[in-house]
């Protein structure tokens, strides 16, 4: 049940994002002042229009592309960077391990969203910088999980045996250890994905991150605040799209965790 709902929602969001240009004839950036603030159900505008007369359905659909793009990029960057650092720290131990753990302590002494927001305000706005900020705030989770896993996998007989046979350190690490910690990386990635997507929306909502007129769900919700009295749909639909995406990926992540790695529960 969990699995199917998660799978269906996630696949639906991916398909809708991919097929956005074929699902709507409207340009998400094209203003039409004559048709501004039309309610949902208006002919030609199933979800209505915003204050500039832009089609809301088109903006929500293109917003899905942006959200998924940012989520995927951030997850890949954090998984690679955090995963590699965790691998090295767990494998070498000694000072790399100590340095990494202190870094992790420091990062974990800031709430995630505050850290990402502050970094974003400093490095600047825009698509590239929001991915950078989320990654800088988020890599540490992988590093910790992977380091812990490597420490235990390293002790297993097949790794010890390979080392005794004279297998080189790099080969040992990437051929014998990495495949055994990969499931944890996948599980953490799936659990982090929706956190990144929601955090991006929150940061854009606060006026940083992705800027208007780019159709990002967060900045759409931010603009909708000025029209809450007259146009509820501007707040309802982008937020619902965000919540459904988060729901789908969360369910999928829960299911992956239960299947791949019951130890990681909670």
């Amino acid at each position: 049940m969990k699995k199917w709902l998660g799978l269906v929602l996630t696949v639906a969001v991916v398909l809708v994002a991919g097929a956005a240009p074929w699902l709507t004839a409207h340009d998400p950036l094209l203003a039409d002042f004559v048709a501004s603030l039309k309610p949902p159900g208006t002919p030609g505008h199933p979800l209505g229009t915003d204050q500039l007369g832009r089609d809301l359905l088109a903006r929500v659909l293109y917003g899905a592309r942006l959200a998924l793009f940012i989520g995927v990029c951030t997850v890949v960057v954090t998984a690679v960077v955090g995963g590699l650092l965790g691998l090295v720290a767990g494998f070498v131990e000694r000072w790399p391990s100590a340095v990494l753990m202190r870094l992790a302590d420091v990062q974990l002494s800031f709430p995630f969203i505050l850290l990402a927001l502050t970094i974003n305000a400093i490095v600047g706005l825009g698509l590239r910088n929001i991915i950078l900020s989320l990654s800088a705030a988020g890599w540490v989770v992988y590093a910790r999980v992977v380091r812990g896993e490597v420490l235990s996998v390293k002790q297993r007989d097949f790794v010890q045996a390979a080392a005794a046979l004279g297998v080189g350190r790099a080969r040992l690490l990437f051929r014998h250890v990495l495949p055994n910690v990969a499931p944890s990386i996948i599980v953490v990635a799936s659990l982090q994905f929706s956190q990144f997507v929601v955090a991006e929306a929150a940061i854009s909502f606060l006026g940083f991150g992705v800027q208007p007129p780019t159709p990002a769900w967060g900045s759409m919700l931010s603009e909708s605040r000025d029209f809450l009295y007259v146009a509820w749909w501007l707040a309802a639909f982008p937020g619902a799209a965000l919540a459904l995406t988060a729901l789908g990926v969360n369910l999928l992540g829960d299911w992956l965790r239960d299947t791949l790695d019951p130890k990681l529960r909670v």
Partner: protein, 306 residues
């Protein structure tokens, strides 16, 4: 226990020192800090004068020593916008945030723990299914969207509650519900899985086998033993409320630390940003320390691990 407390205290002090360093480093991340500190429309000839006045022409090591020295004495400089002590401004806003966080934690304990317990005890019944769906939905709903929808429903449509601001109990309702929603969903799930774990233990079977009433089995044996993971994880998660407050306070114009941080970031008032982020980090670290110590007290096995 004394050694455990000493070790954890030393670790917390180290983390605070390193976090202050990180705050300093973060602000230097963006290149020339003067450009960050200044309004966008500044005259070029004034830039160097200000750079000199704020001490950015000194070597980095000198600047770092000055920042750390000041920070440890509670001096983060003067707000560029309000011309007042930055830490003073931040401390003024702290009570509002703590009130909001405390209300949310109270709401969570009242709603989430009984819900988690109920769904675990009535496993695989309708109550469990409805409760689990509510938890999953609560976790997936972004707080700021929930906030907007509540404002639309209760402030715009029904006119029962104010849209934002502060002053009365009615002002506290929506922000604390929004802040509590995500947290409650997490805590309810944690409670459910912790109670389910305990219900599978042998001593519960023993308690039932010897004829104890169900109320005693659940109320005493189960709840007491599942309290340890619930307290720990809920405590660790409570720190994230400080992050959630950043967004929630902005939506509801709640005059707390989070809203001040966002405004200071928008105004490029970096002394205030540094003071606010440092204080958040210190409060967060203290919360984690408190949780660890409580954990050590609840479960003696933990104290052996350094």
């Amino acid at each position: 226990m004394r050694r455990y407390i000493a070790a954890r205290l030393a670790q917390a002090v180290l983390v605070v020192l390193l976090s202050l360093t990180a705050v300093f480093g973060m602000v230097r991340l963006g290149g020339d800090p003067v450009l960050l500190f200044l309004p966008m429309d500044i005259q070029a000839k004034d830039v160097n004068a200000i750079r000199q006045r704020l001490g950015f022409n000194d070597p980095l090591a000198v600047q770092y020593a000055r920042f750390m020295g000041g920070a440890l004495r509670g001096d983060f400089g003067e707000s560029l916008r309000y011309r007042r002590d930055a830490l003073g401004l931040v401390l003024e806003r702290l009570p509002a945030t703590l009130l909001l966080a405390a209300t949310s934690i109270a709401l969570t304990l009242i709603v989430a723990v009984p819900l988690g317990l109920l769904t675990a005890v009535r496993r695989d019944t309708l109550v469990d299914h409805v409760g689990t769906v509510a938890m999953v939905l609560g976790q997936a709903t972004p707080g700021f969207w929930l906030g907007l929808m509540l404002i639309y429903l209760f402030a715009v449509h029904l006119r029962w509650l104010p849209t934002g601001g502060t002053g009365s109990l009615a002002h506290l309702v929506m922000p604390s519900v929004v802040l509590a929603a995500f947290f409650s969903a997490r805590v309810a799930r944690l409670t459910r899985s912790a109670v389910l774990d305990v219900l599978g233990e042998d001593y519960i079977k023993t308690a039932r086998a010897k004829g104890l009433g169900e109320a005693r089995v659940i109320g005493k044996h189960t709840l007491r033993n599942s309290a340890i993971p619930i307290v720990t994880l809920a405590g660790l998660e409570a720190g994230q409320l400080l992050g959630g407050a950043v967004v929630t306070e902005t939506i509801f114009a709640w005059p707390g630390l989070g809203r001040l941080t966002v405004q200071a970031l928008l105004n490029r008032d970096f002394p205030v940003v540094m003071a606010a982020v440092s204080l958040t980090s210190i409060v967060y670290t203290l919360m984690n320390l408190g949780v660890d110590l409580a954990y050590g007290w609840l479960d003696p096995r933990v104290r052996i691990r350094p």
